[in-house]
């Protein structure tokens, strides 16, 4: 019984949250890695791109709610608003590309210049999002809150520990799987997807083969807009939306992309989960789980929390350091940075 309780507590507080958070990071890191692989720079504006897409989704959600449109089965209205958010975000990134990045691309600017440019874009987006929706917390999740509630689980199983599965967590994982399957199908099976990989692999030869670089760039931005908006909306549904939080997400997202191997989509997914699990494992207070499995006299006195949650961003960096020390191009073969 105690053992079962330990497993349930572990799932409830560690595994499920880490899987959901890992999926969100993976989707974010996929966007970063696509830009790095194809447009060849680290996009520091990615966190704020996510914030922008999410903001449009939230505004659309409120509008849908106000006219009384929703989804059945207790699904959040935000899912219905997602396409609008993606479209808004796509307009934004394509506009930014036309107005800003294209200029530097034509000049064949060095990646480091594009990185600095993207920091500029980041600050502009930062201000724009705050200006439109405000700097505060926004909640936009509606519908059923739980798929399995802690109390329902306890009543059902008779265990002391409850297991809660939030709707947002379930949606996150399912959406992430669908998105990743679609993305890989697109990159590996379609002509456009293959041309994007070819362009990423060897730009000069891609040009010699008649691949149109403008089209590759445009499709990349569209995919990035979709990935960023979906990742941001899922994160917002799961936690809450606050512009500053999204700016901070840049750190674990980059850590995930780099740990997995920049430019490698599979790496981005793996990196997302590595970072998420490390963060949750190290900042979780293990007292409860240990209390169940250790013999009575060994029961821990303290919280057995390795690091306070305030330090969770430090975890990303430590993992990043450790991985790069042993595998400089990341867990999966990425491009040399």
């Amino acid at each position: 019984m105690d053992f079962l309780n330990a497993i349930v507590a572990l799932s409830n507080f560690v595994l499920i949250p880490a899987i959901a958070y890992g999926s969100q990071l993976a989707l974010g890191a996929l966007g970063v890695t696509l830009i790095y692989g194809i447009l060849r720079f680290s996009n520091f504006a990615h966190g704020d791109t996510m914030a922008f897409g999410t903001m449009v989704t939230i505004l659309a959600t409120w509008w849908l709610q106000s006219i009384g449109v929703g989804l059945p089965f207790g699904l959040p209205t935000a899912l219905l608003a997602l396409p609008i958010g993606i479209a808004g975000c796509a307009l934004l990134v394509l506009g930014t590309d036309k107005a800003v990045y294209q200029f530097y691309r034509v000049q064949k600017a060095k990646p480091v210049i594009l990185v600095i440019v993207s920091i500029g874009v980041m600050f502009v987006l930062n201000g724009l999002v705050r200006f439109v929706i405000g700097p505060g917390d926004q909640r936009f999740a509606d519908g059923e809150r739980f798929i399995i509630s802690a109390r329902g689980f306890r009543d059902m199983t008779g265990l002391r520990e409850g297991l809660a599965l939030k709707t947002s967590q379930g949606i996150t994982v399912i959406t992430a799987v669908v998105v990743v399957v679609f993305l890989f199908w697109f990159l590996n099976r379609t002509r456009t997807g293959k041309s994007m990989r070819a362009y990423s692999d060897n730009e000069a030869l891609a040009l010699l083969s008649g691949i149109n670089p403008d089209r590759v760039v445009m499709v990349t931005w569209l995919l990035v807009a979709a990935l960023a908006t979906i990742a941001g909306t899922l994160y917002g549904l799961d936690k809450s939306f606050k512009p500053f939080t999204y700016f901070q997400l840049l750190l674990p997202i980059f850590a995930a992309a780099i740990v997995g191997g920049l430019g490698n989509p599979i790496g981005a997914i793996a990196g997302g989960f590595v970072i998420a699990f490390s963060e949750v494992f190290i900042t979780y207070a293990w007292k409860k789980v240990l209390g169940y499995i250790l013999p009575e006299n060994l029961e821990p006195v303290g919280l057995v929390q390795l690091l306070s949650t305030d330090y969770k961003f430090a975890v990303s960096f430590v993992i990043l350091l450790i991985v790069l020390l042993f595998k400089p191009t990341g867990l999966f073969k990425g491009k040399a940075v």
Binding site: S195, S200, D201, L207, L208, S209, G210
Partner: protein, 228 residues
């Protein structure tokens, strides 16, 4: 052609002339740094010409981009980075045919007929092949547009003598179908043997030219470039 790299770089090519007719093989030889690769790039429009022109079947194509020249029927295998290493062999061929909108399966099976080893390795990333196999992928990729002029920059670089002979045989086969083949080669003797036309390039200038046989028997050419 006269030209160099960038807007203000020094001239690398000096009034260099190269020509090839349908069904012929023309070979460019010369010491390292002579400007052979530069001449190929100039013909393909990857270099700004300061003087001279490039003509395809009499039409002046000097102002066309490399992509437009692909569409006009030219195919180019560069000296380095001439395959997509992370794509499979088959995807490399598909990307070679990117500008085509018709059915490419026939051309692909022709390429597989020409290079049977590629058929066995079609699903493998091209970066995992041996040097000789990569060169075959590179040539195959350029053939996928069904070009009228095929330009090869050192197709036998890093290839063993046996595979080299085989690759030359394939190149002869290709030219028999009516293609013009323009090729840069370090293995000057073997290359000139199969060449209808040969050019010796020294410091960006035509030093000698003539039929392959003429060059091979020219004592000056033998002495300075073929090692006696």
């Amino acid at each position: 052609m006269t030209g160099g790299y960038g807007r203000s770089g020094p001239d690398i090519l000096h009034e260099c002339t190269i020509a090839v007719e349908p069904g012929e093989i023309a070979v460019i030889v010369g010491p390292n740094g002579a400007g052979k690769s530069t001449a190929m790039k100039a013909v393909f429009g990857m270099l700004h010409l300061r003087q001279g022109s490039v003509r395809l079947k009499g039409e002046d194509i000097s102002s066309l981009t490399p992509q437009a020249r692909v569409a006009k029927g030219m195919g180019f295998v560069p000296q380095t980075a001439n395959i997509f290493t992370s794509l499979t062999v088959e995807e490399n061929l598909e990307m070679g045919a990117f500008i085509r909108t018709d059915d490419i399966s026939k051309t692909m099976s022709q390429v597989y007929e020409l290079f049977p080893i590629l058929k066995d390795k079609r699903g493998q990333p091209a970066g995992e092949l041996s040097g000789g196999q990569r060169q075959q992928v590179a040539v195959g990729r350029a053939l996928m547009t069904e070009p009228k002029v095929l330009m090869l920059d050192e197709p036998t670089a890093g290839v063993s003598p046996i595979v080299m002979d085989e690759l030359f045989d394939r190149i002869i086969e290709i030219s028999r179908t009516g293609l013009s083949v323009l090729m840069v080669e370090q293995n000057a003797r073997q290359a000139l043997e199969i060449a209808d036309k040969g050019y010796v390039l020294v410091q960006g200038r035509n030093a000698y030219s003539g039929s392959g046989r003429e060059l091979l028997s020219d004592p000056k050419v033998r002495k300075s470039f073929l090692g006696g």
